[in-house]
Symmetry: none
Subunit: 223 residues, 4 copies
């Protein structure tokens, strides 16, 4: 167990977090895909620490040596998996933007589509996301990338909402950031513990209501 802490002492091979090579061979592509799929399954089933690389290799139907041919260490597997998730999220974001621009709608509908998209994004493998995000010691690079993605998303949301007439909130960028984080966080929670006696539909409705009320109200914070 114990995740073999990266041991700063042990000389870290350069570029430890990158794929070792990108051999364009088909076999390789397939292999990488197989390994990643296996890693997802194994991490989801056992958690990050208990998800041993040997088990992953076995499940992928390759030898442990082959696994290490493409991934320099265990962490790299998690990173690759998370990067895909990130990319997926950004694609969805782009879709959302496109849809919003193509067929403009009111604030409510706009938020609704956004929330549903996020729910879909996390619906897939909530436990895996959780494990990757919380149990895994991620390199700062990844962490930063996630924060940046969130910030970018906030900016996009702000831009889109700015065009809505019933948005009265000031400092839209800040508000959007809070909104994005809220959706992220609640969406994760919901995906992880859906047992709370709250249907997905009801959850989405309620969340949209909160965001809508937030953006529609003005910000003269009497404090």
């Amino acid at each position: 167990m114990s995740t073999r802490i990266p041991k700063a002492a042990r000389p870290r091979r350069a570029g430890a977090l990158e794929l070792r090579k990108q051999p364009a061979q088909q076999r390789s592509r397939t292999t990488i895909e197989d390994v990643l799929t296996a890693a997802a399954q194994v991490f989801e089933a056992h958690g990050y620490a208990a998800g041993t690389t040997n088990r992953i290799a076995e499940r992928a139907g390759v030898s442990i040596g082959t696994l290490y041919q493409y991934f320099p260490n265990k962490e790299a597997l998690a990173v690759a998996l998370l990067e895909r998730h990130l990319a997926d999220g950004m694609r969805r974001m782009a879709d959302w933007v496109a849809r919003c621009v193509a067929e403009p709608r009111g604030l409510h509908a706009t938020l609704h589509v956004f929330v549903e998209g996020m729910l879909d994004l996390h619906a897939g493998r909530p436990r895996l996301q959780h494990i990757l995000l919380e149990e895994t010691p991620l390199p700062p690079r990844l962490h930063d990338a996630m924060l940046r993605a969130e910030r970018d998303a906030a900016k996009i949301v702000a831009g889109l909402l700015r065009m809505q007439p019933d948005v009265r909130r000031k400092n839209l960028e800040q508000a959007s950031h809070l909104a994005v984080q809220t959706v992220e966080a609640l969406t994760h929670r919901f995906a992880a513990h859906p047992d709370q006696g709250l249907s997905r539909r009801a959850f989405a409705t309620e969340l949209v209501a909160m965001l809508e009320a937030y953006f529609a109200s003005d910000a003269d914070c009497r404090e």
Copy 2:
């Protein structure tokens, strides 16, 4: 001679998750406290997995044997730490209720006090809370206790808000549950990554605004 009774067969020592004994001696109390403090520091610094019991004992200035005299296993340390956090949260909740009842205020102020309380609660050791909550394999008992606490909190919030005249939202209990989760989640996030260019003050203000708008708006969800 060991005979090493096969792990699986050996009956899980009774009360594995409790302190072993509660010897009322002074030295003991101090020792337990020292160990717990050390555990908090070590977990915070290295994470749960890498926070080895030996390191904890060393940091606490006691032998590993002493540590195991009071805690039957590593998990028990995390559980003890988390139980304290839980108790602390409930105490704060009670304080908040008392304050709200003693000197009633408007919706805005009420929410503000609540959010500030939560922020304080998590301000202490955000990373530790995170590690305990996410990286640690908690026994179901603890997990359930946390969910129950959240549900209870939601009920209390609902009860308190029901008395506010400007609350127009229907299904207050459900809404409160969402609100509690939102505050929990965002508050954790903020405590964990305060680097977002958002002062604590601003963050609290914004969050209060969102909740206020949510509760003050009515729920006829045009969907």
Copy 3:
């Protein structure tokens, strides 16, 4: 990160008492053999409890990891060793039967050959056998196997003796069982403490005499 799956919960790895794999590679066969030889030596020298797996690995000239590649736990080493002994005993038994059938002899000679075979069987590593049999917590499977082997042996002995004309004892099966146990027990004792001022030859002679007298006398137990 370890997450250290709580021992008790972790499913006893399948086939805990079997070799992990039987990779047919040459190196492996040698390695297994080396480990087993080392285990025999170490157990014999230190006893089961004090015979640590690390010591065994060291003596075998392999790393502790390699040892555990082939044997899931310490017990498995003892079991493997004992199974060999059992198999050896059964082979000898078969040889004895073959010899008895091939060139029939009188009662005395028959018993003599039997006793000598048993003495040979235990002559090898008496202390090891003793340790394996008495100090080691064997799985029920093995224990049962040994009892069954003893019972089988008794049956075979009974069958063989039934053909001897000078055998007058009734209830031959019961008597054979007692005889087998006697030989087993005394043979162990003699092998373990040969210092009793009794040569092996004398011991065998005496034991044969006892058994011969027993079988040759009739059983009308005046009690």
Copy 4:
């Protein structure tokens, strides 16, 4: 676990195997008795290795410190227990001799009484005897004492049998030694595994028959 091998390195206090003192106080006598009783129970229930001194002290209702006041180490407990067993056996032997001399009987009855006595001796706590004898690393002194006792017993048996008219065996001393060992060994086995579908009565009868036949036959070993 692991019996903390006596560690030759650790400076062994002189007289490690004796009681520390023999304070004639009543309290002490009772305490010693309690501890020994507890030790017997704990060893019987858990085996020697798993029978921890702390558990013994707890069961005896004294502190671990007190236990060590009277017994210098764990081994001393086993030794004390075994010495009692030995003394008990010698007492029985003496009784047997007395009975044999007081009211002389034939060979069969004499042997019968002997065997029954041995069975009684081991009937008490067969598992405990087994544990003490086999699982416990005994000091040579004890081991020698046991061998000596056996040799003495053999001599006594020889002396007694010499007076029986139907004893025709030569070298009575040697034969007696074998007989004593046989009874010892089989009696142990029977006490340990009485499940063999052989009543105690039948077992005793059979064993007596074997011994009787042995002693009654003459020894001109045609080999």
